[in-house]
């Protein structure tokens, strides 16, 4: 469903993504790994359309979306879940969810989707009238993910460090939501470096270093390679 061909992108004057090619099919999870500054976030943002690539092509569902603006990519079913959340702080929890559904006009369909979200995240139902800025960090991250998965036509999720700074309970909840997305045959590209989360979700990995993919394969294989984990993830395996 997603094919990246020789993608190059700059962040200001900094040459960050230096020729990345990847494929993600429906029902796939692809973990993008690498140390800080490897270009992971810039890569996700370029796929979403926040950053224009200097070279290369991005195909989504067989369509070349390289020159399509951000909002058109979102309308085609791509969602970006940023690590710094970027909620709409002055809007209520429910309004944040409704922004994600703003192109749906049937009231019943909107209510059904809200009900679905509240089933997945029951805490958000209790908090729905609060402004997003009043939520705790964990609650904000729930909303960040809920808002992206709210739309029934969202098919590809670009998720940046979803469990960063969260308690184990929230992190585990997020892992099970990602597993559900995969079960529903949607595609997930996720920047995450926690070995426990990768083990739980499974799928494929690609390691980025200095803007290039230096290794890729299945998460299962990665977990058996102490050398790769220690070299690129900065995690010491005991």
């Amino acid at each position: 469903m997603l094919e990246i061909q020789d993608l190059h992108a700059y962040l200001g004057h900094l040459y960050v993504v230096q020729g990345v090619s990847l494929r993600v099919e429906r029902g796939d999870v692809l973990f993008i790994l690498g140390r800080n500054g490897a270009g992971k976030t810039t890569f996700l943002k370029t796929i979403m359309g926040f950053i224009n690539p200097s070279r290369g092509r991005i195909f989504y569902e067989g369509i070349d979306i390289t020159s399509k603006p951000l909002y058109e990519r979102a309308r085609m079913g791509i969602r970006y879940i940023p690590d710094n959340r970027r909620l709409f702080p002055t809007l209520t929890v429910e309004e944040n969810l409704l922004v994600g559904l703003s192109d749906i006009h049937e009231r019943k369909k909107i209510l059904d989707r809200l009900e679905y979200i509240y089933t997945v995240f029951p805490d958000l139902k209790k908090l729905r009238k609060l402004r997003a800025k009043q939520l705790s960090g964990g609650q904000q991250q729930m909303l960040n993910i809920a808002r992206a998965i709210a739309h029934p036509d969202a098919k590809l999720f670009l998720i940046d460090e979803p469990t960063e700074g969260l308690s184990p309970i929230y992190a585990s909840k997020i892992a099970s939501v990602i597993q559900d997305l995969v079960r529903e045959d949607r595609g997930v590209v996720i920047v995450e470096t926690k070995p426990w989360l990768m083990k739980k979700i499974g799928g494929m990995y690609a390691i980025m270093n200095n803007g290039k993919i230096v290794s890729q394969g299945s998460v299962k294989d990665l977990m058996s390679s102490r050398d790769l984990i220690e070299r690129y993830l900065g995690v010491t395996m005991s």
Partner: protein, 283 residues
């Protein structure tokens, strides 16, 4: 005697506050969402006033004047955004373009209408009524009624409609809203048109009270900038509160200390900024 003057001053202040609100709201939302300091906003107010005067005085119908102002300033806003600002999204360039437009539009108005102050009041809204011992001008009460109706409409638009919600979300984060499928360029054009319409309507409503003259636009633009700062830049609720406070400050000083009437809004701004540097209700 003292109480009657106070009541009159408050009524006039509230009436003026509603006119400030119509003018400032567009300026505040345009800045909050589009990050444009729109110097041409006062010219929309000025043109709204002149068009309102022309159509109302010719037809004898105030509503016809208000509707004509709304239509023409809305069209002007659309053309400015669509033909100029949309193509040049750099904030400094946009600000300079709006300064140029202000000079041009105000000059054209002066060429057409000259230095004369025009005023036309519908006969049915002439005169005064007595509220106990207090004399109240009918037209100023009318402005308050119209202001309340428009205030409710604006509140409903921003808080109960999909478009209002998208605008508020866009003020919070105009890049992220696009990641949910919102074409922000269309929202920009829409909000610029709505802001221009509100300014034009405000101008047409002011004419029967204070008349229209060549420097009306720039005078009120400066008030509106101060009001936006008092309220907290981009804050819709803050602009509402600040507009009413500014109207009251100006009219109370006009009654009790006329030499302070002109600078009163700026003094209010200084006082608010000393206590709350980001305005009354920061976004």
């Amino acid at each position: 005697m003292a109480l009657e003057i106070l009541v009159s001053a408050i009524i006039d202040g509230v009436a003026l506050g509603f006119i400030f609100l119509l003018l400032s709201l567009g300026l505040s939302v345009i800045f909050g969402l589009m990050r444009i300091v729109n110097f041409a906003h006062g010219s929309m107010f000025l043109w709204g006033a002149y068009i309102g005067y022309e159509v109302s005085s010719r037809t004898g119908n105030l509503l016809a004047g208000i509707l004509a102002s709304a239509s023409i300033t809305g069209l002007m806003g659309f053309l400015i955004e669509y033909l100029l600002l949309k193509r040049l999204r750099e904030p400094l360039t946009q600000a300079i373009i709006t300064i140029g437009l202000m000079l041009l539009l105000d000059r054209v108005a002066w060429l057409r209408w000259g230095d004369i102050t025009y005023i036309w009041l519908p006969p049915e809204l002439e005169g005064t009524i007595l509220l106990g011992p207090t004399i109240i001008y009918k037209y100023r009460l009318f402005v308050i009624v119209v202001g309340i109706v428009l205030l409710i409409a604006v509140y409903i638009f921003f808080n109960r409609t999909r478009y209002g919600m998208i605008i508020r979300a866009g003020i919070d984060d105009r890049e992220m809203i696009q990641a949910f499928g919102v074409n922000i360029e269309r929202v920009f054009t829409g909000i610029f048109v709505v802001g221009s319409v509100l300014a034009g309507v405000a101008g047409s409503i002011l004419v029967p009270w204070q008349g229209v003259y060549p420097t009306l636009g720039i005078n009120y633009l400066l008030y509106a900038f101060a009001i936006v700062v008092i309220g907290g830049v981009g804050s819709i609720g803050g602009t509402m509160v600040a507009s009413l406070l500014a109207g009251l400050a100006q009219q109370l000083s006009a009654y009790y200390a006329p030499y302070l009437a002109e600078p009163s809004i700026f003094l209010l701004m200084l006082a608010v900024l000393m206590l709350r540097p980001s305005g009354l209700l920061r976004v």
